[in-house]
């Protein structure tokens, strides 16, 4: 069934259609969130946030972009919202500790993506640490391209940029990663 039909069915209150949309997009949303947040628990929370948002705002979806593009946009927004919330929590850490709310770390050290082949696990952990230092737009473009495997055209419609802007973002991201990794190996080797 095409995504547009599923969307229409969800709008008319069909809960089975919502389940169908979840099954189709859950891994894409989770994989993107995992690439950006680098934490399984945070990525799972974000998947929930994304689908709750989809359900609540499906009435506003006009179909100007494809449902996939719309869902990726919500995913990126929710990921960066999660990062901002975690930073705020850290700032109010003292208050939180007084009132007994546990503060979770945003990024665990040495994140291992489950989809990376065994022989590359160690190197990819180093790369993920460098990816985490990129700015939001470079990180988004890099994750969508390298981890989600999307084309420049798809990324450009998700990020609402021209294709050349996305290419430029990816180029700058790669240069920054090279610099970060050079510094890392310079201090280690």
């Amino acid at each position: 069934m095409p995504d547009s039909d599923i969307i229409e069915q969800i709008k008319s209150g069909d809960s089975a259609a919502f389940r169908c949309l979840f099954e189709e997009y859950k891994d894409r949303v989770y994989n993107t969130s995992l690439g950006i947040l680098q934490n399984v628990s945070d990525a799972e929370d974000t998947v929930q946030d994304v689908f709750v948002e989809i359900f609540n705002s499906i009435g506003k979806f006009r179909g100007d972009s494809s449902p996939g593009t719309w869902i990726y946009r919500i995913t990126l927004n929710k990921c960066f919202e999660h990062i901002r919330k975690s930073k705020r929590k850290k700032r109010f850490g003292f208050m939180e500790s007084i009132f007994g709310e546990k503060s979770e770390s945003l990024n665990l050290p040495d994140f291992n993506h489950p989809g990376v082949i065994m022989e590359n696990k160690e190197r990819s952990a180093v790369l993920f640490r460098a990816v985490d230092k990129l700015n939001d737009s470079q990180k988004s473009a890099f994750v969508l391209s390298k981890i989600e495997g999307l084309s420049v055209k798809e990324i450009s419609s998700i990020m609402n940029l021209t294709e050349s802007s996305v290419e430029s973002l990816l180029h700058r991201a790669k240069n920054n990663l090279k610099k970060l990794l050079s510094d890392y190996y310079n201090s280690g080797l």
């Binding site: 949303v29 989770y30 489950p114 180093v126 790369l127 981890i147 495997g149």
Partner: protein, 104 residues
């Protein structure tokens, strides 16, 4: 030079470490959690209410300490005033005695 080449080699290998990455699979039970969240109303105001309560407690404590401080100053002022009145009364008593003595 050899060291620099080695570093460049390491950087390239690390950048290629995501080649062939497979998409991570989400926990299928997440849908149950999403359904549960959709069934109960969102509690977004909980954080705001907590911070408002903290601010209110701090404000009440501040007002209380200001009141305690002010009442302590008023008491100190009153006791100072009493002392002055007593002194004045004593000097009046002394003057009265002098006057009486004068008449005698």
């Amino acid at each position: 030079m050899e060291r620099q080449n080695k570093i460049e080699d390491e950087v390239e290998k690390t950048l290629e470490s995501l080649d062939g990455i497979k998409r991570a699979e989400a926990n299928p039970f997440l849908f149950t959690r999403i359904e549960a969240r959709l069934e109960k109303p969102e509690n977004n105001g909980a954080h705001i209410i907590r911070y408002v309560l903290i601010a209110a407690v701090i404000l009440v404590l501040n007002v209380f300490s200001i009141l305690v401080y002010r009442s302590a100053s008023v008491d100190a002022g009153k006791s100072g005033q009493t002392e002055t009145i007593v002194q004045e009364f004593n000097s009046f008593e002394y003057n009265t005695e002098d006057i009486l003595n004068g008449y005698n």
